[in-house]
Symmetry: C2
Subunit: 144 residues, 2 copies
DNA sequence: TGATATCGTTGCAAAACGCAACATTGCAGG
DNA sequence: CCTGCAATGTTGCGTTTTGCAACGATATCA
């Protein structure tokens, strides 16, 4: 097996292992916010004015799944839906003030965990790792 | 926000997005083998003689969850359980011949997808990315 | 206006998961 | 030897997450 193949193999294996643990990890880091809820809130923080369809497309989920998640987060008062004035089919999603608070708290606990994990990483390595992940996700979106 | 904080933020976000899509991605790459099943089979391929408890610990899952997954894979004839002769409590898990075949087929389809994704990556970057992922998962295990 | 597409919701069933209780087996201290 | 304790795995039960299909409402285009 070539070095390239070995690297590809390792990347597959490690990414899969990470994905497999992600739910439990999130549950330990912030029990009040599931991996799903955290993801949606964090996405809305970046992409204010997001639609439910956008979330479904980005995370490869069925629109019904997203619909339910969004409904639950709205019942909890964490997000708001505003029907688009120009297109009455779409509902524009926004973070509610309470959603901002909850997200900030969860993010803080996450950050503590991550800082421990990466404590002895060289800043240059950290930067490269971040670049690689961004690039990988872009490639994954381009080659579905 | 410092460069280090920005990198940490990016790593969190991108890893989370990846985890969120992993299930759907696996379903498209190999519909006959769920992410869960694929993970267990791949793990057994590496760690022959694995116990159910090992799987639960590694993937942060309840032992009952693993027990059911293992039972299902055995019903499908993909894995075998051999009770340890020295300790009759433990069941040593092995890949069955049929499990090897199914895993090989799924791995092949995975590999095709990954090679497309990484087609224009420099080999040195691939190697570094693989290293970083291994290191990250080790750190995650050390700082739970 | 009528056909078609898009956005979101709901009914339904299946999969995945965790917790608690349990049986079985091994191990160590008295 | 035996009694208590730990480890392994299974099962019952309820919850959560998910996808598919059908549907209503709205928009777009011929």
């Amino acid at each position: 097996m070539s070095g390239r193949d070995a690297a590809l193999d390792t990347i597959q294996r490690e990414l899969t292992a990470f994905a497999r643990r992600a739910r439990a990890t999130a549950a330990r880091m912030h029990p009040e916010l599931s991996l799903v809820s955290y993801t949606i809130l964090a996405h809305l923080e970046e992409q204010q004015g997001c639609r439910a369809t956008d979330l479904a497309a980005y995370y490869l989920l069925d629109k019904s799944t997203v619909s339910r998640q969004v409904a639950a987060l709205e019942r909890l008062g964490l997000i708001e839906r505003r029907t688009d004035s120009t297109d009455h089919r779409v509902q524009v999603l926004h973070l509610a003030p309470r959603g901002n608070e909850v997200l900030a708290a969860a993010r803080e606990r996450r950050k503590q965990t991550f800082e421990e994990r990466f404590a002895d990483w060289d800043p240059a390595d950290l930067g490269r790792f971040a670049e690689y992940l961004v690039r990988y996700n872009e490639d994954a979106a381009a080659h579905p």
